[in-house]
């Protein structure tokens, strides 16, 4: 059935943005709690995590942004047959404007040619929206707010890489990801979550790496080899001793999530999406009934 009219979800998108900007997901907060226990008493690392946890609590209570850099809003929208993505995109763009007015988002969309800030978080290809039609009957939306500081230390490698002695295999991937963590030092507001993609082309690889950031910290990679690689990189990145904010310490990363894509015979890319401790992701499910919508947030 082709729907000619679909519900207005603008308010629901505003609420999704508010939740993402002001409430840190519980798995992230739990990981920070455990990290605090690991750090030495009265160390700068422990102090940093203390401040972070207090800030997370205050942001939730006051419904204000966890971080002032509310980043690039990245929407991954899964929708059933019959929904207009053009209509959804318009609603999302309107919603980020309202969320900006309500101070849940900082005006973050800058014209690259004139330097003018659009003021409402919309612009050319801004916010980022990816649509995926699926077989389910409801709409599911994942939202990530990806800050600029950590985006600037995200990076991509082309293997083989002679300098790192990184070949076209998982050992090569390990070497590049550890190098990326080292290169970032404290500039990406760690402790970080690393989204890693192997393969693809330069564009698809970066997108895939960011999509890994939606995964729960405690999920298990269905691919055994990748699951093992995630654990190895997690342990070894934390041995680097860069610590929260680069102050030194035991917690440099909170999670590592790796995925693979098919690639051209000629290319072997490794993309590393470095995400700050404020891994702001939120989700919503929208069931469309005859004349109402049922929305759940997570």
């Amino acid at each position: 059935m082709i729907q000619t009219k679909q519900p207005d979800l603008t308010d629901q998108f505003v609420e999704l943005v508010r939740r993402a900007a002001t409430r840190l997901p519980s798995d992230m907060e739990n990981a920070l709690d455990s990290a605090k226990e690991r750090e030495d008493e009265d160390s700068a690392a422990e102090g940093a995590i203390d401040t972070i946890l207090l800030n997370v609590q205050m942001a939730r209570e006051h419904s204000t942004p966890i971080c002032q850099d509310t980043g690039t809003p990245i929407f991954e929208v899964y929708y059933p047959l019959g929904i207009s993505t053009r209509v959804l995109a318009n609603q999302i763009r309107k919603a980020v404007g309202i969320a900006t007015e309500n101070s849940f988002l900082r005006p973050n969309a800058v014209d690259s040619l004139t330097g003018t800030n659009s003021g409402d978080n919309t612009g050319e290809d801004f916010p980022t929206i990816h649509f995926h039609e699926w077989e389910a009957g409801h709409i599911h939306v994942d939202l990530l707010l990806k800050g600029g500081g950590c985006e600037n230390v995200s990076t991509q490698y082309k293997l083989p890489d002679a300098g790192l002695k990184a070949g076209r295999d998982l050992e090569g991937v390990r070497r590049t990801v550890l190098d990326a963590v080292y290169q970032a030092q404290g500039r990406g507001c760690g402790p970080a979550v690393l989204g890693v993609a192997i393969g693809g082309d330069r564009g698809s690889s970066y997108i895939k790496s960011k999509q890994q950031l939606f995964r729960q910290l405690d999920d298990e990679n269905p691919n055994k080899e990748l699951a093992e690689l995630e654990k190895t990189i997690y342990d070894q990145a934390n041995e680097l001793g860069i610590g929260p904010m680069g102050f030194g310490g035991k917690t440099t990363v909170l999670g590592v999530k790796v995925a693979a894509q098919h690639r051209l015979p000629a290319s072997y890319f490794v993309s590393v999406a470095y995400m700050c401790w404020a891994n702001r992701r939120a989700h919503m499910d929208v069931a469309i009934k005859s004349d109402t919508v049922e929305v759940t947030y997570a």
């Binding site: 401040t51 205050m58 204000t64 002032q68 900082r106």
Partner: protein, 203 residues
Amino acid sequence: MPKLTVPIADDEIRALHVGDTVLLNGIIVTGRDAAHKFMIENYIRKPAVDEEAELYADLKELLNGGVIYHCGPVVKKHDDGTYSFVAAGPTTSIREEVYQPEVIAHFNLKGVIGKGGMGPNTLKACSEQPAVYFHAIGGAATLIARSVKEVVGVYKLEFGVPEAMWVIRVEDFPVVVTMDSHGGSLHDQIMASSAEKLDALLA
């Protein structure tokens, strides 16, 4: 935790060392990419033109013995025209490395607040002035905004809200000294120790 009040005296700066935590108080000014570029191009590398002279005089007074904060805040404008800070964590400082030493020297800055640390030129300027680099906790935006008790004024709002120069009064703003006026840099130390560790892991 020891407190420091802006304007800060030279001997107070010399007494600070890498790793010290401090609560900052007083009037500070936000400035990031556009503001630093503006100050360099309009005041420091050539004399101020007439239409920018008033701001120059204000900044000279505000920044003398003062502190600049690398920050692009979320700001709420109230119906009566006043502003308040909603979220105001630090932004990455290294982008200002090309400008910072000249800004420190020209305005007699005593401190720079930001995150991620800065490079050798700023470290040298810190020794000479003297001045220090205060590291705020990246992302702790709500917490820091609540230490901003008053928005005293704003300059260059045409740069956009994040890039404007906001004059703010802070109370007990928590920071860590990561670059001091004695040549010490926590960032250099961590870079060196993590490089050693990385070499071992990639051996």
